[in-house]
C-alpha cells in the first residue's frame, strides 16, 4: 500500500500556543482516517497543513508533494470540504456545476448530475435558497464528481440534522470511496463515523495520543464492566479510566491481559467515544 501522507515532527505555533507539537503520522492509500480531538486540539491546523494552507515546521509530504510550496499542483489531486457554510450564497446551482466543470480538469459532470438527480435541489436555485442539508448535498455532489486521490473533510456535517448526516456518510461510502481514494475526516460526532473509519488518530493539545487501525483497537484496548464488589480488583489491573454505569463499574484498559480481565467480568471492545474519553480526559486527569 502506498503512503499518501507522511508527516514528521510537524510543529505549528500561534503566538504562545502550540497548535501542533511534533506530530508524526502516515496515511496510506485507500484508507478512511478519522482525526479526532477536542476543540483546539490541532485538528484543523493539521488539515490546513495537509492542504497547504498553513506553514508548519517539520516535514510533510502529500502525494509526494510539499503541500505548502507546491499547493497549486496539489489542488488538482486533493479536494476538501471545509464546512457547510462555505459555498457562496449568491451562487446558482447550475453555475456552480459549470464553474467547477470549467476550472477542474478532473471533474466529471455526469457523476455530479447523477448525484444531484437523487436530491430535490433545483438547478435554478441560488445557494441562499437551499437548506443546510441541501447545501451539503450540493457541495458533496461537486466534490464527489472530482476524480481526486485525497478528500479532506473538516467537520463536514456541522449543524446538520441526523438524517442529513447519515445521508452524507452513506453517499460518501457508496458513491465515492474506492481502493484508489483516501479520506481524512475530522468531526465531533464520533459515533456517526465509527463504522466507516479504517483508521483512527486522536490528537490532543497538539500531540498524537493514539494512532491505530480500527481493527487493531480490540487487540490493544479492552473495556471491562464489573459489579461494585470487584471494582477494587479491577482497579488493581491499572485501567486508563473508570466510570460508574447503572450500578456497575466500567474500566478501560490498554494492553491488559485478556484472561485476567475475563475472570473479573464482561469484556468488550470499547467504542471510539469511550476510548476518546479515556485517552483524552483520563490522560489529563
Amino acid at each position: 500500500m502506498a503512503t499518501l501522507i507522511e508527516a514528521q515532527g510537524l510543529t505549528k505555533t500561534y503566538g504562545a500556543t502550540r497548535a501542533l507539537d511534533g506530530v508524526s503520522f502516515k496515511v496510506e492509500t485507500g484508507r478512511i482516517v478519522g482525526l479526532i480531538g477536542p476543540n483546539g486540539a490541532g485538528k484543523t491546523t493539521a488539515l490546513k497543513a495537509i492542504l497547504g494552507l498553513a506553514r508548519c515546521s517539520g516535514t510533510l509530504s502529500v502525494l509526494g508533494l510539499d503541500p505548502y510550496n507546491q499547493r497549486d499542483r496539489l489542488t488538482e489531486e486533493v479536494c476538501f470540504i471545509a464546512d457547510v457554510a462555505v459555498l457562496p450564497r449568491w451562487l446558482r446551482v447550475a453555475d456552480a456545476i459549470d464553474f467547477v466543470a470549467g476550472v477542474h480538469p478532473r471533474f466529471r459532470r455526469e457523476r455530479c448530475e447523477e448525484f444531484l438527480a437523487r436530491t430535490t435541489i433545483r438547478r435554478t436555485s441560488r445557494v441562499k435558497e437551499l437548506s443546510k442539508g441541501m447545501i451539503v448535498q450540493l457541495h458533496l455532489a461537486l466534490v464527489m464528481a472530482i476524480d481526486a486521490r485525497l478528500l479532506v473533510l473538516d467537520e463536514p456535517t456541522l449543524g446538520l440534522d441526523i438524517l442529513s448526516r447519515k445521508r452524507f456518510y452513506d453517499s460518501l461510502l457508496s458513491d465515492y470511496m474506492d481502493a484508489e481514494r483516501t479520506i481524512v475526516v475530522t468531526t465531533h460526532q464520533v459515533e456517526e463515523i465509527e463504522n466507516i473509519l479504517t483508521d483512527l488518530i486522536f490528537i490532543d493539545r497538539g500531540r498524537i495520543v493514539l494512532d491505530l487501525p480500527m481493527d487493531g483497537i480490540g487487540n490493544r484496548y479492552a473495556q471491562l464492566a464489573v459489579p461494585p464488589d470487584r471494582a477494587a480488583a479491577a482497579r488493581a489491573l491499572g485501567p486508563l479510566n473508570e466510570r460508574q454505569l447503572l450500578g456497575r463499574y466500567v474500566f478501560l484498559y490498554e494492553n491488559a491481559d485478556p484472561a485476567a480481565l475475563a475472570a473479573l467480568g464482561e469484556v468488550r471492545v470499547p467504542s471510539i467515544v469511550d476510548l476518546f474519553v479515556a485517552k483524552i480526559q483520563g490522560g489529563a486527569a
Partner: protein
C-alpha cells in the same frame, strides 16, 4: 472555455453591478430624454434650446455639424465614465474581501486555481470588463438619444443627418476604444491598491481605501506643508484624459458664434489622440510597474494571509 474566462464569468455572477449599473444609467438618461420630449415637446440638446439651434442652423458648416454631433456623443459618454470610476472602486474594494467575509474563499481555494489567476481575473474585470460594459451602455444610450433627436428635431434636418454620420461615429468609437485601452494601463495602480487592501485588511476595506490616501495626503501637508501626494493621486484619477486626448479647439476660431462669443468645437477626436506621447510618458510605466507589484502583493496576501500565523 479556458479557466481564466470561467473566473471572469464567476465575477459577473457575483457582481451584477458590473452590467446592472450601466444599464440603470442608460435607462435613466433615455427615460429622462423621453420625459422631456413628452412634457415640453422637444429635446434639450446639450443645454442648447431648440430655437437657438434652429437659429444657428444657417451658420453651421458641415464640419461644425460633425463637431456638434461629436460633442453630443462625448457629452453622453461622460456620465458613464464617472460611473466606471465609482463602480470600479466599489467592485475592487469588495472583490477579495467578500470571499473572506462569507468564508467562500475556502471553496474557491479548493479548486485548482492559483491565487494569482484569481487576482488577475478580478483585476481584468475591474479594468477591462467593467469599462467595456459601461461603454456598450453608452453607445446604446447614444443611439437611443439620437433616434429621439431625429424624431423631434425636425427644424434642424442638417444636424440630424450629421448625427448619423459614419465618419463622426467611427471617430468617436476609435477614440473611445483607445481611451478604454489606455485606461487599463493607467488605472492599474489604483485597482491594484484597492485589491490589495481588499485582500489585506481585517474588515471594512472601503474605509481603508478612502481614509488611508486621505490620511497620507493630510499627513504630508501637516508635516512638510507640501501637496505632492494629493497632486499625484488627483492626476492618477483624471490624468488619463489630458494625456491621451490633448485639449484642443481653442484659439483657432473653430466654434459656434453667439454674438461676440465663440464656443470652441473639436475638430475630431482621433486626430487629437496622442498615443505615442501617452506611451512615452514615464508616469504611465511607473504606474504599470507599481500596479503589477500591488497585484502580485494582493495574490501573495490571498495565498498566505492565514497561513503564516
Amino acid at each position: 472555455m479556458n479557466k481564466f474566462l470561467w473566473l471572469m464569468r464567476r465575477e459577473l455572477w457575483e457582481s451584477r453591478v458590473v452590467w446592472l449599473a450601466p444599464a440603470v444609467v442608460a435607462v435613466a438618461i433615455v427615460g429622462f430624454a423621453l420625459l422631456s420630449v413628452i412634457l415640453t415637446g422637444h429635446l434639450h440638446f446639450e443645454g442648447i434650446e431648440q430655437e437657438t439651434l434652429t437659429g444657428l442652423h444657417d451658420q453651421l458648416t458641415p464640419a461644425k455639424l460633425d463637431a456638434l454631433a461629436t460633442v453630443a456623443l462625448v457629452g453622453l459618454t461622460v456620465p458613464f465614465v464617472l460611473l466606471v470610476g465609482v463602480t470600479q472602486f466599489l467592485y475592487a474594494v469588495d472583490a477579495l474581501y467578500g470571499e473572506r467575509r462569507d468564508r467562500s474563499i475556502l471553496f474557491w481555494k479548493s479548486m485548482p486555481v492559483s491565487d494569482l489567476q484569481t487576482v488577475l481575473a478580478k483585476a481584468a474585470l475591474a479594468l477591462l470588463v467593467l469599462p467595456a460594459a459601461a461603454f456598450a451602455a453608452a453607445v446604446v444610450t447614444e443611439i437611443a438619444i439620437f433616434l429621439i433627436a431625429s424624431a423631434t428635431l425636425s427644424g434642424a434636418p442638417m444636424l440630424i443627418s450629421h448625427l448619423w454620420s459614419p465618419g463622426v461615429w467611427l471617430d468617436y468609437l476609435l477614440a473611445s476604444l483607445t481611451l478604454l485601452a489606455g485606461g487599463v494601463l493607467w488605472y492599474l495602480p489604483l485597482v491594484g491598491f484597492t485589491l490589495l487592501l481588499s485582500a489585506l485588511v481585517p474588515r471594512s476595506p472601503i474605509y481603508y481605501a478612502v481614509l488611508l490616501p486621505l490620511g497620507a495626503v493630510l499627513l504630508e501637508y501637516l508635516t512638510f506643508h507640501t501637496r505632492h501626494l494629493g497632486a499625484v493621486l488627483a492626476d492618477r484619477e483624471v490624468g488619463l484624459f489630458p494625456r491621451l486626448l490633448r485639449h484642443q479647439g481653442h484659439g483657432d476660431g473653430f466654434g459656434l458664434e453667439f454674438g461676440k462669443h465663440t464656443v470652441p468645437l473639436p475638430h475630431g477626436l482621433v486626430e487629437n489622440l496622442d498615443v505615442p506621447g501617452f506611451l512615452a510618458s514615464p508616469d504611465l510605466w511607473i504606474g504599470v510597474l507599481v500596479g503589477a507589484a500591488l497585484l502580485a502583493a494582493a495574490a501573495w496576501v490571498r495565498r498566505y494571509r492565514d497561513a503564516a500565523g
